[in-house]
């Protein structure tokens, strides 16, 4: 059979059931690619061949049993049975590491499965390993990982976005058809955009957060990365739903139709007829690259030509989103990260023998610079005398931001379309010394988290040879219609030349002389930065 790593999950699913491929063969092909190319990408923190093959063999046995028992038994298996998937390294898997990209969790071994992990096991998915990320999911470039940065397979000197950069790069590099990320202010959608793949942040409460290392608990959601919309829908289906272990997971039914998005392009495209799409003028922010804005406007023109109507709307409080988010998220993080005290698990420094001094050393030595910055911001915003001016004020503005979106849904729109990231992938090092420039990466994604809405980024072509993403934002619990719209866009652009392109520098990762991301980072630090503009 042709290269197994180029298959989509839904194709693997069909071939597995038809007996034309085994999960072991699929798993080995992906492990081989990941092991060969990870030195040059650093997308993976763990590639777990031993356990992956155990899961693959178990899936093959389930499929064989299903085939013996008849068509109904085979159909009862989840489509992801036997399909490889990667987990961001903040998702707990019993007996495995969960560093959250931090030194403070180095050596920690999770004693239990997250609900997401348990649901993937139940579905029969094959977990290949754990992916790199910004420390505690704080960052937009994966440069804030304590385990070195990840390279973007489209341009190895550039970042894959973040914080779920390893999960995005691994899918873009064909090391896995699917991966799990988390999105607190854009950490799934922005790296999906920068790596040219699909990344979905569900409605807050759609996916249980039990067993996921917490960052900002009123904003965090878990979601899928995939190389097409149908695959993203399969993974979303597998992990969604009410969980008694997370009181914020909502008792909302998970639509079975997520498993049967239209395969045919004509049927998929027909969904666009009569849809009303809102285009928020405020999302074409200052500093947006013209090429990115052009791809988004072209995408909307194509949807219009296929029967949708597109109307400009105003989300007037968008401008306040960044400041609001960078009060609320750090405040929640400073509270959540208070648990890292060196007593129960993780890194500790007891060298002084004095309680407070050891506490300070443990946290000072265990956390990296961005996490410290956010803990400081959050602690300050919650401290006596500043609570009303910062935290309470931000919560009130959060209400206004949510009301902006409510008004769009009340006006009868089916979805909001916008850019995902104002720019294509930027060079390593370009924003690392300027936190505010880094935070601007999320200007178009973080209002969606503050309103608790679902959003998906899908590839919309290239700008200067690098991927640009289209963001589709839906009303609460509208993942199914949001994905139908995304699938329709995919269908009407199925023949676009850019869809056939593989990441431009992926081939270089096979070359053992290609520098690792850590070597690139060192080199870029000693040489003058190439600037943050698009490539010539």
């Amino acid at each position: 059979m042709a290269n197994l790593t180029r298959l989509h999950a839904h194709e693997m699913s069909r071939l597995l059931r038809a007996g034309e491929v085994t999960s072991r063969a699929l798993t080995e092909a992906h492990l081989d690619a990941a092991e060969r190319q990870n030195r040059a990408l650093n997308a993976w923190l763990v590639i777990d061949r031993t356990n992956a093959l155990v899961m693959a063999d178990a899936a093959d046995a389930r499929i064989a049993e299903g085939r013996r028992a008849g068509a109904a038994a085979l159909a009862a298996l989840h489509p992801l049975c036997g399909v490889p998937v990667a987990l961001k390294d903040l998702v707990s898997i019993e007996g495995g590491q969960a560093t959250a990209g931090s030194k403070i969790l180095k050596g920690y071994i999770a004693p239990f499965d997250s609900t997401v992990t348990a649901r993937l096991r139940e579905a029969g998915a094959v977990i290949l390993g754990k992916t790199n990320m910004d420390e505690f999911a704080m960052g937009s470039s994966t440069e804030h990982s304590a385990y070195g940065p990840t390279s973007n397979p489209w341009a190895l000197d550039r970042v894959p976005g973040g914080s779920s950069g390893g999960s995005a790069a691994a899918v873009a590099a064909y090391h896995t058809p699917l991966s799990i990320g988390t999105d607190t202010g854009g950490s799934i959608r922005q790296p999906a955009s920068l790596c040219g793949i699909v990344g979905l942040k569900p409605t807050y409460g759609r996916v249980s957060r039990y067993g996921i290392v917490a960052f900002a608990s009123s904003l965090d959601q878990i979601g899928p990365f995939a190389r097409d919309v149908r695959d993203a829908a399969l993974l979303l289906h597998a992990v969604s739903g009410r969980d008694e272990r997370d009181a914020t997971s909502a008792p909302m039914p998970v639509p079975a139709e997520l498993l049967s998005l239209p395969a045919g392009d004509d049927e998929a495209a027909a969904y666009l007829k009569g849809r009303r799409i809102a285009l928020p003028k405020e999302y074409f922010v200052e500093g947006m690259e013209p090429g990115v804005a052009a791809r988004v406007r072209e995408a909307l023109a194509a949807m219009q030509a296929a029967g949708a109507t597109v109307e400009e709307v105003s989300l007037p409080h968008t401008h306040y989103g960044l400041a609001t988010y960078y009060i609320i998220a750090p405040a929640e993080c400073s509270s959540n990260l208070a648990r890292y005290d060196g007593v129960k698990y993780g890194y500790f420094d007891r060298s002084s023998g004095e309680y407070i001094a050891d506490y300070l050393r443990t946290r000072g030595g265990g956390f990296g610079p961005e996490v410290k910055r956010r803990i400081m911001l959050g602690t300050y915003a919650l401290s006596a005398g500043y609570y009303d001016a910062y935290y309470l004020k931000a919560q009130k503005v959060r209400t206004l931001i949510k009301q902006d979106f409510d008004a769009v849904w009340a006006a009868g729109f089916d979805a909001i379309c916008a850019p995902t990231s104002p720019t294509v992938a930027f060079p390593m090092g370009a924003r690392i010394e300027d936190p505010v420039a880094m935070y601007l990466s999320d200007a178009c994604t973080l209002p969606v988290n503050m309103a608790g809405l679902p959003g998906v980024s899908i590839p919309a072509g290239l700008s200067d040879g690098l991927p640009a993403g289209l963001q589709i934002i839906g009303a609460p619990w509208s993942e199914l219609s949001m994905l139908r719209l995304a699938r329709a866009y995919e269908a009407i652009t199925a023949r676009a030349a850019w869809r056939d392109l593989e990441p431009a520098e992926l081939k270089l990762t096979d070359d053992p002389t290609t520098p690792s991301p850590i070597e690139r980072k060192e080199r870029l630090r000693s040489a003058p930065a190439p600037g943050s503009g698009p490539r010539a």
Binding site: Y204, T324, G364, K372, K396, V397, M450
Partner: protein, 101 residues
């Protein structure tokens, strides 16, 4: 303009139990002031009559049957402890004197 002094930064670091180096304190003083300047835009909005939003999906009274469920074993819970004594975590002494309070 935000005006967080070096002493303020040190105070917040202590509240957060973060041991920071001289270099880190100096860098954070500049960066935090720069970030706080970005917050100033919020003061231009009148929010006097706007209720705060703490969470977006408004679930309330999430209850389950009061039936014991399996939970982590003592061994599993202690498996990552830097230091244990029998079935307990060893915590630093926070009260003075031999033998504790």
């Amino acid at each position: 303009m935000a005006n967080l002094s070096r002493a303020d930064v040190e105070h917040v670091a202590h509240l957060a139990r973060l041991g920071l180096t001289e270099e880190e304190l100096a860098r954070l003083e500049g960066q935090l002031n720069h970030i706080l300047d970005q917050y100033a835009v919020l003061a231009t909005l009148d929010t006097e009559h706007i209720p705060p939003t703490a969470q977006t999906i408004e679930l309330a009274n999430i209850l389950r049957e009061d039936v014991a469920q399996p939970s982590l074993s003592v061994e599993a819970a202690l498996s990552n402890a830097p230091e244990r004594s029998g079935d307990h975590f060893v915590v630093p002494a926070i009260l003075g004197g031999e033998g504790g309070a």
